[in-house]
């Protein structure tokens, strides 16, 4: 059984850039805070589409659409519940994560 998560993306056509971690941007975290370092190379996703839409309302700049990810349970992609309500961090290669997108919803 797959796990479903929701990721905010920039447009209706997801691409590799939509699955870029902060680390992949090439900027140093400039922090020794373990909470910062823990998620620096991961991606923010949500348990429900409503949670993702709530973030878009706070930051319209973040993206206009939401990708639905179906992540197989036996997949090496790592998922962890982190931070605020419904927030999860996903660690995996952008090219792999892109293949898990099953649909795209308006934000």
């Amino acid at each position: 059984m797959a796990r479903t998560l929701y990721r905010i993306i920039r447009g209706s056509e997801p691409d590799l850039l939509d699955f870029t971690s902060n680390e992949a941007q090439g900027l140093a975290p400039r922090s020794t805070n373990p909470n910062v370092l823990h998620v620096w190379d991961g991606l923010s996703c949500w348990a429900t589409v409503a949670q993702a839409r709530r973030i878009i309302r706070s930051f319209p700049y973040l993206g206009s659409h939401i990708a639905v990810l179906e992540i197989p349970d036996d997949d090496p992609v790592r998922v962890e519940r982190t931070r605020g309500p419904g927030h999860h961090t996903v660690w995996g290669a952008p090219s792999v994560l892109l293949t898990y997108v099953t649909s795209v919803l308006p934000g």
């Binding site: 939509d18 902060n22 900027l27 922090s31 991606l43 348990a47 930051f59 931070r83 605020g84």
Partner: protein
């Protein structure tokens, strides 16, 4: 309730913090490292279950509004580190939480603490029909609790505020 700092260019949460000051300190650190303020976002999360209450969503800060809040934080830190500035706030007048009047600053009018935003000006705009949300957008350095403090001050010092509004309107008309 906690403050979330976001990387808007990647869509990833950087970290969450118990206080705005901690989040702003991290933002300043990232800006010093080359991040653009357009790529950083600060929001308040009320932790009210998985869905949350959209009616409670406060204005989020990014770009120019975040830069203004960061500048305000820097100024506040500067004031806190200079005893002479702190001593300028007369303890006798500072009868309301979050409100202070300082001789020589905005004519000694009661202001939101550590800012130059006078309470009478906020009240004048409220009387003109401006909603709290609009005021917070117009003054990114203000927090919702600042307005709560301002409205409390107005209710306790209505004569003083009425007089200052009238004096300002006369000065503008002259």
């Amino acid at each position: 309730m906690h403050y979330e700092l976001w990387a808007l260019n990647t869509g990833n949460l950087i970290c969450d913090y118990d206080t705005e000051a901690e989040a702003l300190a991290m933002a300043q650190n990232l800006l010093a490292g080359g991040w653009s303020p357009d790529h950083l976002g600060l929001r308040l999360e009320f932790d009210e279950g998985d869905e949350g209450d959209d009616a409670q969503l406060p204005p989020s800060l990014y770009g120019a509004s975040l830069s203004a809040r960061l500048m305000d934080a820097v100024r506040q830190a500067a004031v806190a580190n200079v005893p002479e500035l702190a001593a300028m706030t007369p303890s006798g007048r500072n009868v309301d939480q979050g409100i202070a009047s300082t001789p020589g600053v905005v004519g000694g009018s009661a202001c939101i603490v550590k800012t130059r935003i006078p309470v009478w000006l906020l009240e004048q705009m409220r009387r003109l029909g401006m909603a709290d949300e609009t005021l917070l957008d117009a003054y990114p350095s203000l927090r919702a609790e600042d307005l709560v403090n301002a409205w409390r001050y107005v209710s306790l010092h209505r004569d003083e505020i009425d007089r200052e509004i009238a004096e300002n309107e006369e000065a503008e008309a002259a």
